[in-house]
């Protein structure tokens, strides 16, 4: 239905047809009207740019995320060995966000490169979950019968697993396996392992929602019409079913990204995700807790925490706005 409105352009010279807006078009119009949504969207875009431009920004700053500064002029050597001296703990022209305790690495550079890692993991794992959830949910709802009961039991099974515990136990196993692969360079191992575990264990809820939607779509007349033309199952799912669940999928995808940002932070904080020297926001939280640095250097805890909260909050508010825009009934009346 949503595609029908945009598909046919009026022929040359004919009077302008009054066409309805597509579902996504209406949604975008509603989002543009909401101040909170636009501010959140701007923050999300800025964060993505911040991550993408990490090499440029750190080049302007003149620092890099791996260079250590352990000299006695940077770090305290007596009272609190390793604690940055006041001139280096806080933002300055030389180190825009100060330096880490212990190794004296530049915090701004680690935050920027950490944003890359955190956001890539969240984005890719969301894509994996969305693809699995949409395809399996659509297949279950569309075919029904045996396929439906197999996929539905699978969904029940995945929802019954203690999510964090399982992800936590599988991540180290996967990492030690990936370590031997020829691709194991740089931050490949932590990123891939987290994308796989988070993506693979995050699809079940979305699949259940999509299945429910498809069950009702299946009974609509346009599906019957398409079937009477002899449309194949594949093209039916791809061209008729999926475009009509796109709205729901978009809502859940927007909400899944902040969940996955938090999950990366949690796993890396627990020491089973991204590990030093690769920076990520969760790894930075882990570093702040190591050796109780945060008690003497609260700034070191504040930097990744504020980045995390702002980003997660912006994505959550954007997700709320997308949901309200696509489903007028659920508005925050």
């Amino acid at each position: 239905m949503s595609t029908a409105a945009t598909a046919t352009a009026p022929p040359e010279g004919a009077p302008k047809l009054v066409t309805g807006r597509s579902l996504l078009g209406t949604a975008w119009m509603r989002i543009r009207r909401s101040k909170i949504a636009m501010v959140s969207l701007a923050i999300v875009i800025l964060m993505v740019l911040f991550a993408l431009l990490a090499p440029v920004l750190t080049a302007i700053e003149g620092q890099n995320p791996d260079a250590t500064n352990t000299g006695p002029d940077v770090l305290d050597a007596f009272e609190n060995p390793g604690l940055p001296l006041p001139g280096y703990m806080f933002p300055s022209a030389e180190h825009w966000l100060g330096v880490e305790p212990g190794l004296g690495r530049d915090l701004f550079a680690r935050l920027a490169y950490g944003a890359q890692v955190s956001l890539i993991i969240a984005l890719l794992s969301t894509i994996v979950s969305v693809i699995l959830g949409t395809v399996l949910g659509a297949a279950a709802g569309y075919f029904g019968g045996k396929i439906d009961s197999v996929i539905s039991r699978l969904i029940d099974l995945f929802l019954a697993f203690p999510h964090l515990l399982l992800v936590l136990s599988i991540a180290p196993i996967l990492q030690s396996r990936l370590k031997d692969s020829p691709l194991a360079q740089g931050s490949f191992v932590p990123i891939t392992s987290l994308v796989v575990v988070l993506g693979f264990f995050g699809w079940a809820y979305l699949a259940r929602i999509v299945r429910g939607q498809v069950l009702s779509i299946r009974e609509q007349e346009y599906i019957e019409a398409a079937r009477s033309f002899g449309t194949s199952h594949l093209s039916m799912i791809l061209k008729q079913i999926i475009p009509n669940v796109a709205g729901v999928v978009l809502v859940y995808a927007t909400m899944m990204i902040p969940t996955n940002i938090t999950a990366e932070a949690a796993l890396s904080f627990l020491g089973v995700g991204v590990k030093d020297p690769t920076p990520s926001w969760g790894q930075m939280l882990n570093a702040a807790q190591q050796g109780n640095w945060y008690l003497n250097d609260p700034w070191f805890l504040a930097v990744p925490s504020i980045a995390l909260i702002i980003t997660v909050l912006a994505f959550n508010l954007l997700g709320d706005a997308v949901r309200d825009a696509l489903d007028p009934k659920s508005s925050r009346n």
């Binding site: 991540a171 180290p172 949690a266 904080f269 008690l295 805890l301 997660v312 959550n316 009346n333």
Partner: protein
Amino acid sequence: MIAFLLRRLGAMLLLLIVVSFITFSLFHFGPADPASAACGQECTPDRVEQARIALGLDKPFFVQYLTYMSGFIMPRMIGAPGAESACAWPCLGKSFQTNENVTDMIANALPFTLSIAIGAVVLWTIAGVGLGLLAAMRKGKAADRIIVGGASVGVSLPIPVTGLVLLLVFVGILHVLPFTSNSINSPFGAAGPWAWVLNYLLPWLAIAILFSAQYIRVTRSNMIETFNEDFMRTARAKGLARRSIVFKHGVRAGITPVVTMLGMDIGGLLGGAVLTEQIFSVPGLGFTAVHAATSGDLPVTMAITMLAAFFIIVASVVVDLVYAAIDPRVRIN
């Protein structure tokens, strides 16, 4: 009723067996070599082989699985032939690291997790449902806006951040509360209830801040929906007192989704408050699981994962029963 219970219990048992099989195979085919891990650093190939036999890892996969599962029905013997030791029913194996009986480890850890769960659940239910109800009754007014805004921020606060900030403020700066791990030596506090509350207050808050924000949102939106229903208008038209309308008619019908959520969250939390236990060094199930996962201690990881899945599955059955008890529109069959 009895037929319903039996059917659910049967499905529950089946799901648990599938969960156990999948968990067992996931860990079994993981690349971690428990034999060399258990044997220690300086270990000759001969000794590793002995360890392998002692742990029963030389046997075929299915034999290992069935041996493991037999521990749920009867006591079994563990160890190399000739040097076996008894493992009493219910036997969950022995730790690869410490050779401790896993059942005992879980029995020691569970009370700590219970201690955290009890306080956190009470706090977040009172705060979440209370504030959510208040917001729904004052819809659109200042109180509602403040509560909704606070909840939006609350759901965006990752537990590692909240936990570390609480520790920093109340333990590091204000010195008004003890550092949990320094003062916890018994799960329910031999020093009396007041010491117990002081010890666990920060872990409770770390969980409750996040969860109450979620409960505020769910309670509010469900109550607003319920307040708009016909039977509520009827109650108002009958001239019932506002209090009776809200609590006798409204809450009873509108609270059911919150009860579902509560049941599932309690089920999830009993499997271990992984992040909170780690931050505050509380030796509960989550804390034990993190250490087992990072050291490749498969029997411990396996047992905690299965116990957590058990709690989640039981919770879903209990939720169905409670649902029928509070919502007059739901009948079990």
